[in-house]
Symmetry: C2
């Protein structure tokens, strides 16, 4: 039998392959694979549903990820997917696979983190599955949420001249990971070393305990703005802009000098000899929201702190970055086109 | 720090521990942890949601589980949880963790099985998560379904004198697993051996490709009967009767000579020197439905093929089996009180 290696497809290739095999047959199924969450018609509203799986050794390393933060993060990344549809998360189910290395106290820590996140995001834990695992720790969370039918934001709704905005700042989680990996290597070389992460706590915090921008969804609702398109930044700004552009059938132009990057991220980028723009574009795990609004709506949101306009959508299908030098660079979804 | 091993709690102990930490805060959350599926109020109906995770080396062995059957089974066991609430399954999300041992063709096989199940149960695949896995294959499915508010069947609704019924037959999946394990050992000892499973295909089929009894839910609806309580048999009849009894606050009396056990199961039980009643009580993975109906409703369902009355609920809290000898045995949830 023929054998094709998975890495020849990549994650998005695999998702496309799966998507072509399945058609929606139930009238309640409004939107299937291909957005941040699936959309189900429940009568007066849409229900949103999304799932994210975290595997030990792939998504986290127990040698530096505190279990409480891990539980929190597992919920936050799911809530982020609901926010990316302009929805409000309501409930989660938690599937957990536990190896015998994990004690009852360790499980308690994970669920404490889950509980903190449930309280922060006003989400109920309504069910799950607990099982033993022969390999590492597995946390699979499915989140449900709701959105008014006229307020759902798909990836595909961006129009030419819409303003492209991003929440928060970018690249910090990526450098948080680099720092944790470096400290781990130093600890392996010298176990008596005490890591001093205080100076970098902002970056490390963004990696270990990211927040979903549910707050922004409430702020947009308050000023009466529905994004024309939206996605959350899990794989990196570059990849997400390409998703918005491709699915909306428009191009995008963004500006280097508009990208929100914190001073500590800039500083650490120099230390690691990595371009901060590359980290912002391809680092991933920021869990910020990337969205477009009609120009007419921009005035209503421009005073919301933590929203930065970074460019606009174009008729030309190209997705380009205007560098500070004035030159233009084509944006590629480099860096994360593997199974992650 | 104190360290308590997980096996001192067991799966149900762990679930209880988690349950006590979490309260439901949203008005939409009708029923959380503790039944076959969670219940969310969506206006005119209830939405049901349940999740089941299958891990390589714990729930399946790729040396004998065909990938197509595995995909099918992963969906069926989830649909079974919706049926156990008297609901109709509507959609699934599939989280999948793939090690680099798995080829694209192997992934295709898994999704073909998932697709067959989606067609059989009229369920839409609406989303998921694909990721690499450092360890084995992980399949985590979350299913949603719907049920009319006045038709939902909880575990807790059984009343004294209600008749306890079971669908299909019991113990076959357990012996299917024993046969597969035996063949595997024989194959390891002598790789040129060709296994002849034809005679046992019924048992092996029940293990590798169980069906959810969604058909029974439609038949109950046709005759206008709502079970007073219901659960699906995943861990074994004994464990499930104890759940119904405990949560309903009643006892149960069942009769050995009423237990539906196929001839081939009986025959194979002799071969393995295991009591067929033990297999029916504790074997697990039958994915049949166990439910109670009011005596007044029994006449309406007695002509539905594949439903067998096996006893009734009692005022006395004891859960007992009346043996063919006339003696009574107390039913314990033995056999599966570990993380599974």
């Amino acid at each position: 039998m023929e054998r094709t290696e998975l890495n020849t497809l990549g994650e998005f290739g695999l998702i496309d392959r799966i998507k072509t095999k399945f058609n929606l047959q139930n009238t309640e199924s409004v939107k299937g694979i291909g957005d941040d969450a699936a959309v189900i018609d429940i009568g007066n509203q849409y229900m949103l549903i999304s799932t994210d799986m975290l595997l030990e050794g792939v998504h986290f390393d127990l040698s530096y990820a505190p279990l409480r933060h891990l539980g929190y993060k597992a919920v936050a990344v799911n809530v982020s997917d609901i926010a990316a549809m302009n929805g409000i998360a309501k409930s989660i189910t938690v599937g957990i696979g536990l190896s015998n290395r994990i004690s009852v106290e360790a499980v308690d820590e994970i669920y404490e983190g889950i509980k903190f996140a449930c309280e922060d995001y006003k989400v109920d834990l309504i069910g799950g599955d607990t099982t033993s695992s022969r390999s590492g720790l597995v946390i699979s969370i499915t989140v449900t949420g709701v959105v008014d039918k006229d307020k759902v934001a798909y990836r595909s709704g961006a129009k030419v001249n819409d303003i492209l905005c991003v929440t928060g700042d970018l690249g910090a989680a990526y450098f948080g990971l680099q720092i944790l990996e470096r400290e781990k290597q130093e600890y392996i070389a010298n176990p008596s070393m005490q890591p001093d992460l205080e100076e970098k706590s902002y970056l490390v915090g963004k990696q270990l305990k990211p927040e979903a921008r549910a707050d922004i969804i409430h702020e947009l609702a308050e000023v009466g703005v529905v994004p024309s398109a939206m996605i959350d930044i899990s794989d990196g700004l570059a990849s997400e802009i390409l998703h918005l552009s491709t699915q909306s059938g428009v191009g995008a132009l963004i500006f280097e000098d508009k990208l929100p990057i914190e001073d500590i991220t800039m500083l650490t980028a120099t230390e690691f000899n990595i371009s901060p723009v590359t980290a912002a574009l391809n680092g991933g795990e920021d869990y910020q929201l990337l969205f477009t609004v009609k120009q007419a709506d921009f005035d209503k949101i421009k005073n919301i702190s933590d929203i930065t306009p970074i460019g606009y959508m174009t008729e030309d299908k190209a997705v380009e970055l205007v560098l500070n030098s004035g030159a233009k660079a084509s944006i590629q979804a480099q860096g994360w086109n593997h199974l992650q």
